[in-house]
Symmetry: C2
Subunit: 113 residues, 2 copies
DNA sequence: TTATATAAACTACAATGTAGAATATATTAA
DNA sequence: TTAATATATTCTACATTGTAGTTTATATAA
């Protein structure tokens, strides 16, 4: 019982990837929007923040508060970025999945290329 | 609220992929072994069957009982195979993840090739 | 000073992940 | 023939992750 490195859940992976994609503009609303646009996954904003908070507790993301948007008022944004260990975890998950897919071909699919 | 196609959890994906890899020899012990060998994921056999059963309930795998092993006795094996809708679900999960990875590059990684 | 827009925090529950003990069933040895 | 042992599944319980919905905070404009 040594390396008890927990795997990321799938939704956690999606959030980390969203944040990486968004760069300096990753906060609740933009993340939610990206998920909807890219993979048609419509989650409530509450679902999002809950998972984001858990990721932060595990040290996979870091956050800092920004100022309220100048456009039309409102509460301050909370910007997220993926930590080094978050990237690590992401890489591990990707590799595991790649390994598992390695010698699998689905019906009506071509293995590669 | 139309297409309520649930995503597969990550562990569910691993099990489906294991079964596909194992072909005609996919049952509790071999699946568990494959997971340990390929991705160093050591799950208890109980964890495995629980998830397998849930996958079956959702129609993503099918099972049939085999005969007891001739080698040295013991209980009959339960063989699993992935259903067409299981493959579908797997494909969807893969695509979603691919899409999310699309424009992400990790530190110290080369994007492709 | 209230309406409205923007965004985050809180609360609660459902689904998935995981372990460990209990049970079933076949073979082999005494 | 029955106790020991090997192989394999089923059952029970709990932890973690996924998800929704409501509430609260805070800024601007009317």
């Amino acid at each position: 019982m040594s390396s008890k490195e927990k795997y990321l859940g799938e939704f956690e992976q999606f959030l980390l990837l969203s944040i990486l994609s968004l760069g300096d503009d990753a906060y609740g609303t933009t993340i939610r929007q990206l998920l909807a646009d890219k993979i048609e996954r419509d989650v409530t904003i509450g679902a999002l923040y809950t998972t984001l908070e858990r990721l932060e507790k595990k040290g996979f993301v870091e956050s800092k508060m920004g100022e309220a948007t100048r456009e039309r008022g409102g509460r301050a944004k909370k910007y997220f970025k993926v930590s080094a260990s978050g990237e690590q975890a992401l890489k591990r998950s990707k590799q595991a999945l790649n390994t598992m897919w390695q010698d699998v071909t689905l019906r009506g699919e071509h293995s590669c290329e």
